[in-house]
Amino acid sequence: MALHGRHLLGIEELSGDDIKLILTTSRSFREIFTRAIKKVPTLRGKTVINLFFEPSTRTRSSFEIAAKRLSADTINFNVSSSSIVKGESLIDTGRNLQSMAPDIIVVRHTDAGAPHLLARCCKGLSIVNAGDGMHEHPTQALLDALTILDHKNKIGGLKVAIIGDIAHSRVARSNALLLKKLGAEVWICGPPTLIPLEIRQYGVQVTFQMKEALEDADIIMMLRTQKERQKEVFYPSVKEYSILYGLNKQKMKWAKKTAIVMHPGPINRGVEIDPELAEGEYSVILEQVTNGVAVRMAVLYLLLGASEEMEA
C-alpha cells in the first residue's frame, strides 16, 4: 500500500496516484454511512489522537467520527492557544503522546510546519495534518476534490475559481496544489492585499476582478473571511469587501449554468456569500461536510494499511 506507514503532511508530498487512491477509497467508505449500523471493525484496537492547538469544531468532529466509524479509539486533546503561553512545548507534548503509543496523531496548529516537527520527533506513528498555519489543510482539499468528482466526474480541464483571503488560507494552498496535480485550470481572486507574493508558482492564474475569475467557471470556492483581518488594513470594511468579493446571485450569472458553489465553512453569512446562495441549488457545502468524514476514514485507513480487513 502506497500510503502505509507514511504521514499526511500536505498535498505537496502526494502523487496524483496517491490522491486518486484516497478518493477511490473514500467512495467505498461512503456506503457505510447509509447502513443502519454505521461502523466497521477495520481499525479496532488502533488509537487516534486528535491534537488540536486551534479551536475547531467541524474538522475535529469529522476526524473523530471517521475514526469511530472504523472502530478506532479516539482521544481529543484540545490545547487552547491561551494555555500554551508558557507551558509544555509542542515537541514535549508530542513526545508525551508518543509514549502512550497511539497509531495516528491528527494535529492542527496555528503555526506552519507544526505537523512536520511532530513527524520528526515522534517515531512509530503517523502524523495527519489537520491544518497548519497558513500552509496546508490536505484533507480539506481531498474532500473538495471528492465533491467535485461527484458532480463533474472529472477534475482535469475544469475552471476552478478560488475567491477571498488567499494569503492566510491553507485551504487555498492545498486546493491549488491538488487541483493543479489533477489538471484543473485554477483562478485565484481577491484583493491584492490578500494575495501572497509569487502565488503564480502554483501554476494558477491571478485576478483582482471577480468577473474574470467567475467567467465560465465550473467550480466556485469561496473562502472564509476572517473579521480580525480588517484591523490589519487589508480592506476598509466588511461591507466593502462584501460588495467587491462577496458571491451573490448577480455575480453567479458570470459562471457556467452548471457551476457549483463550495465553501470550507464556517460561513460568514452575508459577507463572502449571500445566504440564499449558500443554501440554494448551486451549493454543495453540506455534501462537502459528508465527504469530509469519508475522506478522513480513507486517510486513517490507508495510513494504517489495514487493507485485508476491509471486507469484515
Binding site: 509542542l90 515537541i91 496548529h109 503555526d111 506552519a112 512536520h116 497548519d132 498555519g133 500552509h135 507574493l197
Partner: protein, 426 residues
C-alpha cells in the same frame, strides 16, 4: 616571549602587502617581517603554505552575558572566537540587563579581561533599555570603553532619535550601528516575504522593512555627518542605497553575515529552525548582489551576527523559534570556501573585509601587521579540510545550519597580543 612565524604568506591590506616571509613578534608587538634568521630562544612556528594575516575582527557578536549565560558566556564566546580565528569581537548590548550604561560596559570588559583570550569591545545601546525613546549615556559608555552604539535587535523606529544619535555620535567619532527593520512593515514575519514564505505558508517579513531604514540612515547620515553602519545588510536594494551613498561620500558603511552570502531562502525546505534569523535569508538574486558588493567594495566588513540559542529555543515551530545562528566558528572557513576557492575575491580583499576595514570603522588600533603594532594575528591553512561538527563547537550553543558541511580554509593559529590563544593540531 618571542614568536617567529616562518615562511608564511603574509597578507596585510593596511600596507598593501602580499609576500612570503617571516613575521617576528616580540613583547606582544610586531617587530619585523621579511627574512629573519631564528634564534635559539624563540618559539618558531612553521607557517609555510599558510596565510598570515592581521587578526580578524568580528563586529557583530552576541555574548549573552550578563543575563543569558545558558546560551553563551563571555568565556565560551571568547573561546569560540579564538577557535574561529577572531582576535577581536564587538559584543552587542542586548544582554539582560541591556548594556546602556557605563557600569554594564565596565562589567563586560572586566569579565573579558579575566577570561583573557580575545579582545572584547562592547557596543553600548543608543537609547535607554534600547526602547528607542531617550538617548542612553553614550559619552559615559564610550569613556568606559564602548566602541560603537546600537539598539541591535530592535532597530531605531523613531527617525528623530536616529538623527540625534547620529549627530551626538560625532563627539566621539563612533559608528551608529543600525539593525534596519521598520517594525510595521516587518509585521509578524518569520522569514523573507517571497516565493518561499508563500509556499511554506509562513508570515513573511517584507524586504521593504529593511530598505526603508537603510534609506533613512543614508539620508540622516548625509544631513548629520554621523557615521551610520548598517548591520547585517541583506537585500539587493539596500546594497544599492549604500553604493549610491558611498559615491556621494556619505559616511555610511555596512557589514554582511556569512549566511547571507552562502544561503538563500531556497535553502529553507523543511521548517528547520537553524535557517531562521533576522534579517531572514533572502532570495537568490539578493545573495548574488551580496557577492557582487563584497567584491566591488560596497560591503565593508564580514561579521557573523553570532547568536547563540539553547536547543529548547530552537526546538519549536519555525514561527515560534528564536532568531539567529552561531557563526564564530564557521565564518572563516565559509568565507574561504565560498569566496576564495570560488574565485570571487582575492585573499587580500578577504583580509580587508575581516580585519582592515572593521578596524578602520571602529578605530581599534588593530587590523595591521606594521612594525610596532599590537601582535594580533590570524593564521589560516587554506588547504586544510574540516567537516563542521556542531558538537565540537567551543560556543555553548549548537544552532548552526552548517553542521556536516565540508569546508576548507581553517584558522590554525589565533594570536592575541603575541599570545597564542588557539592552535589547531594538524
Amino acid at each position: 616571549m618571542t614568536l617567529l612565524l616562518r615562511g608564511g604568506k603574509i597578507i596585510d591590506p593596511s600596507q598593501r602587502l602580499e609576500q612570503v616571509g617571516d613575521l617576528l613578534i616580540q613583547r606582544g608587538r610586531i617587530s619585523g617581517f621579511g627574512k629573519i634568521p631564528a634564534r635559539k630562544t624563540w618559539t618558531v612556528l612553521e607557517a609555510r603554505n599558510w596565510i598570515v594575516a592581521p587578526g580578524f575582527i568580528d563586529m557583530h557578536v552576541h555574548l549573552r552575558e550578563p543575563g543569558r549565560e545558558d546560551e553563551e558566556t563571555i568565556e565560551s564566546g571568547s573561546r569560540a572566537a579564538a577557535a574561529g580565528g577572531f582576535t577581536s569581537i564587538v559584543c552587542m548590548p542586548n544582554t539582560r540587563p541591556i548594556n546602556d550604561s557605563a557600569s554594564i560596559t565596565r562589567y563586560v570588559l572586566e569579565r573579558a579581561r579575566e577570561v583573557g583570550l580575545v579582545n572584547v569591545f562592547p557596543a553600548g545601546a543608543i537609547t535607554k533599555e534600547s526602547k528607542g525613546e531617550e538617548l542612553a549615556e553614550i559619552g559615559e559608555m564610550v569613556n568606559a570603553g564602548a566602541v560603537a552604539i546600537t539598539d541591535n535587535g530592535n532597530g531605531v523606529q523613531n527617525n528623530q532619535i536616529m538623527r540625534r544619535a547620529l549627530e551626538y555620535s560625532r563627539i566621539f567619532d563612533i559608528p551608529v550601528v543600525d539593525h534596519c527593520e521598520e517594525r510595521n512593515l516587518a509585521a509578524a514575519g518569520c522569514m523573507n516575504e517571497g516565493p518561499r514564505s508563500t509556499r511554506l505558508g509562513m508570515p513573511g517579513m517584507s524586504r521593504a522593512a529593511e530598505e526603508v531604514h537603510v534609506a533613512r540612515d543614508v539620508i540622516l547620515s548625509r544631513i548629520t555627518g554621523g557615521r551610520a553602519h548598517i548591520a547585517h545588510i541583506s537585500t539587493r536594494e539596500s546594497l544599492e542605497w549604500v553604493r549610491q551613498a558611498k559615491k556621494q561620500h556619505i559616511p555610511v558603511t555596512c557589514e554582511v553575515t556569512p549566511h547571507h552570502f552562502v544561503l538563500s531562502e531556497e535553502d529553507i525546505t523543511s521548517y528547520d529552525t537553524n535557517f531562521k534569523m533576522n534579517p531572514p535569508l533572502r532570495e537568490p538574486a539578493d545573495r548574488k548582489a551580496v557577492l557582487k558588493a563584497l567584491a566591488d567594495g560596497t560591503i565593508d566588513s564580514i561579521a557573523t551576527d553570532h547568536a547563540p540559542h539553547t536547543q529548547f529555543e530552537k526546538e519549536e515551530t519555525f514561527e515560534a523559534a528564536a532568531n539567529g545562528i552561531v557563526g564564530l566558528e564557521t565564518a572563516v572557513p565559509l568565507a574561504w570556501e565560498f569566496l576564495i576557492r570560488r574565485n570571487l575575491l582575492t585573499p587580500l580583499r578577504l583580509v580587508e573585509l575581516l580585519s582592515t576595514t572593521p578596524n578602520r570603522i571602529l578605530k581599534l588600533g588593530r587590523g595591521t601587521l606594521s612594525e610596532g603594532a599590537i601582535a594580533d594575528v590570524t593564521v589560516i591553512d587554506p588547504e586544510r579540510e574540516m567537516k563542521v561538527d556542531v558538537e565540537k563547537f567551543k560556543s555553548k550553543s549548537r544552532n548552526s545550519p552548517f553542521g556536516g558541511w565540508v569546508l576548507h580554509g581553517i584558522p590554525v593559529f589565533t594570536i592575541v597580543a603575541g599570545k597564542i590563544v588557539h592552535s589547531a593540531s594538524a
